[in-house]
Symmetry: C2
DNA sequence: AGCTCCATGTAAGTCGTTACATGATTCA
DNA sequence: TGAATCATGTAACGACTTACATGGAGCT
């Protein structure tokens, strides 16, 4: 249900068409909850049928056939958003394909394990940069969404609105930092194993027998 | 496909019945990839139909009706396992319901935000303890699975087998540690906001208007 | 004339969840 | 006799993915 509540939260900042919403989504929530545009459109229709958002069909261009739909948060949606933020949800079980693989790297060669760790490191380095750039945008209050939120919120809420977002991104940045440091630790391990083994081109524990 | 490969990796340590496998799963892989027993049984049947595992039906107890099925890794499964460990998979997009909520804590009261963070802290503290206990078991080479693996593996692979698992658990432990520290940071933020606001029982940014 | 962006979806399929269903064995 | 554990599933549903489909608008 995270997608649902993310959409409600985005619309709380003001009405948006499906497409605009999807684009704002990609530049904000997508960092913590990825979704395809096709899924966003589907969920918006569902939210509409539940009366949590209302849609306003608008003509698009000059032709009479093409339309776009502007969505706005409905009272039921606002109530659901408030309920959800207050609710303490059970934590979702950990589930990470990489961690299951790193558990069993002995089934491949040290060379390949090293390649895995280098890819891991590069990925998180990149992710960290993106998080950091976005966090700075928020700190500068320099995104469309943040500006809209602050414009319609009372002055005394501005600090909390940005602080919670920055807090969240600090968590993500820290997580990315830890992944990079951990990859380095893993690379160190592989090098030690390589010295002990003398070579690194064969599976440490061969599977075909 | 992580469940699939985790099951193959478990069976590589030796044959197991579905039930035994599910129990070993809960005590090992489940830390990084949760699955229900019902799903494990289903996946084992699928793996059998793909010839990646073979099943040996055994009578159970004295009656003729009750049976259990012992699974073992088949050559196709071993090949698939080797292929998967070497493969560098695209990283899955980040997706965490808590992070989407922490982005929008302004829609609830400071009291409730504090309760959320306390629950978060308690959860990760507990998770960290479990990870640490398990990591120590592995370091002592004191689990059924590790003993089986080491027993059938050549001596020169023992170090890598345990080291990769410990490396993985260090990542998990570090992650849990970071979550706890971050919750404390969040609690500090909430206290500062409370001092500024004077009270904490009302939504910082009310949604009903 | 063709490319990029705007704009909205459908369809099929996979993975996972939740709840249910059934029956045997072991031990207090 | 009843509880815990052993043992194996099915059914319905929900969330998400991948691929496909369609067409307008604006610019070069």
């Amino acid at each position: 249900m995270s997608l649902r509540h993310a959409l409600l939260a985005l619309l709380e900042a003001g009405p948006l068409t499906g497409y605009e919403l999807a684009k704002q989504f990609d530049k904000s929530v997508d960092y913590v909850w990825h979704a395809q545009h096709s899924q966003i459109y589907t969920e918006l229709r569902k939210l509409e049928s539940l009366h949590m958002v209302s849609a306003d069909e608008q003509p698009r261009g000059s032709s009479a056939t093409a339309v776009k739909r502007a969505y706005r948060l409905a009272p039921d949606g606002a109530a659901e958003l408030a309920r959800w933020v207050a609710e303490i949800e059970p934590k979702v079980p950990h589930r990470d394909p990489w961690h299951v693989k790193s558990l069993y790297l002995e089934y491949t060669s040290l060379d390949q394990a090293r390649a895995q760790l280098l890819a891991h490191r590069a990925h998180w380095q990149q992710v960290r940069d993106r998080y950091e750039a976005h966090a700075q945008q928020i700190a500068r209050r320099d995104t469309v969404l943040i500006r809209r939120r602050l414009a319609k919120a009372p002055e005394d809420a501005h600090e909390a609105i940005t602080a919670y977002k920055l807090l969240t991104y600090r968590s993500l940045i820290e997580h990315a930092r830890v992944e990079v440091a951990w990859a380095d630790e893993g690379l160190g391990l592989v090098e030690r194993l390589r010295i002990a083994a003398g070579r690194g081109d064969r599976p440490v524990l061969p599977l075909s027998r």
